[in-house]
Amino acid sequence: MAGSDTPRQDDIPVDASATGDQPAGAADVPAVNSVSGDEGVGSAGPDRAVDPTAQDARTPAVTVRGTAAPSIRDVRLKIRRFLPEQDAEPHWETYTVPTEQGDRLLDAIHWVKWNIDGSLTFRRSCAHGVCGSDAMRVNGVNRLACKVLTKDLGDEVLLEPIKGLPVLKDLVVDMEPFFEAYRSVKPFLLPSPHEPTKERLQSAKDRERFDDTTKCILCAACTTSCPVYWSDDAYFGPAAIVNAHRFIFDSRDEGGEERLEILNTKEGVWRCRTTFNCTDACPRGIEVTKAIQEVKRALIFRRF
């Protein structure tokens, strides 16, 4: 993987070329109107606003069973777009999307791509908050598009690529600097060199010690929310430190000292200014700043 300039296989950008097979139903929705801010019932997806029983790929079965029409709300997605082939600068574009109560932000973005503009480019893979592909800046803060419901957002939603990494296209950024920092903390178990004669047992208490940092999905929401990382891309960033923490405090691991030395540099943990943006941004609820502070304290007191 090192030095490779191709995107990771597991988060291939959802690109225009990748959507040859549209889901059934998307094709019979006319690619409507509703670019840039015009409102009203007419611009809402006609398939849903007019006929609640019409079933397309996105209408959940429950709305068909119900007698009342599902309440459709128009949300204006203002997306920071950048197509490197034609744009010199990124620009804003607004799309009006009809949404239902249970819709996730990712559904709304899909709706734009499938019904309005197929060139809209973003990453997503599992769409259930596990793969960590669709981190983006939603109304100014980093979120996973698949973990935010449109009902919790206003009528206008600002969408931007995550900050501090080079933008390749629309909402897709080059993740390589992020993964480079991740790899440099040796995020894997470094056992004792002696061949074990029995299973490496760990008590529940020892496992608990680093439980929080095992939850990381490498979405980069924390690292790209960090003001220090924006201005200094040599900084390891919160995600790399979180993943170092996961092994430093693992009782089965012998590489703690080694990792602490990697992080005991000008661009290591000491760059952290405890702004808590990372903790607020983490979609897995990891207390990122707490983990970084624990690494700092381990360095000061050499106790872990």
Partner: protein, 130 residues
């Protein structure tokens, strides 16, 4: 090839803004100290010039700047204590917001009388009859 987009301001929570305020007040205090060391050093060069310079400080604008200086030092000091707690207290990261709210409350409680007493003389000189 790729470039960093301008985009909007990151809307971080209070933790981020306390950091911004800490930076801004720190730089302000630094600039004050720079000027202060310069004018105080003058007393060794020429006491008369020193007196003249200090006389130019006796006006309402500088009085307001003094209040600003106290505010900057006070915030920087209180927030510095909060950062020390975050660094060394095990539960510091979990209570950072509460500590910030306590800090801002304390800041207001201390700043109101400080500003009152510091500005009273200027106020009386400008508008007062006493």
């Amino acid at each position: 090839m790729p470039k960093a987009p301008a985009g909007t301001l990151y809307r971080g929570h209070v933790g981020m803004w306390s950091w911004v305020a800490h930076r801004v007040t720190g730089v302000l205090v630094f600039f004050f100290l720079f000027a202060h060391v310069m004018d105080t050093a003058l007393v060794r060069v020429s006491p008369d010039t020193y007196d003249k310079i200090v006389d130019t400080y006796k006006n309402p604008v500088v009085n307001l700047l003094e209040v600003g200086l106290v505010a900057a030092v006070l915030f920087h000091a209180l927030n510095g204590l909060r950062i020390i707690a975050i660094d060394f207290w095990r539960k510091g990261t979990r209570y950072q917001r509460q500590m910030l709210y306590a800090e801002v409350t304390l800041f207001v409680i201390l700043m109101v009388p400080a500003a009152f007493f510091m500005l009273r003389h200027t106020f009386l000189t400008l508008f007062g009859t006493a």
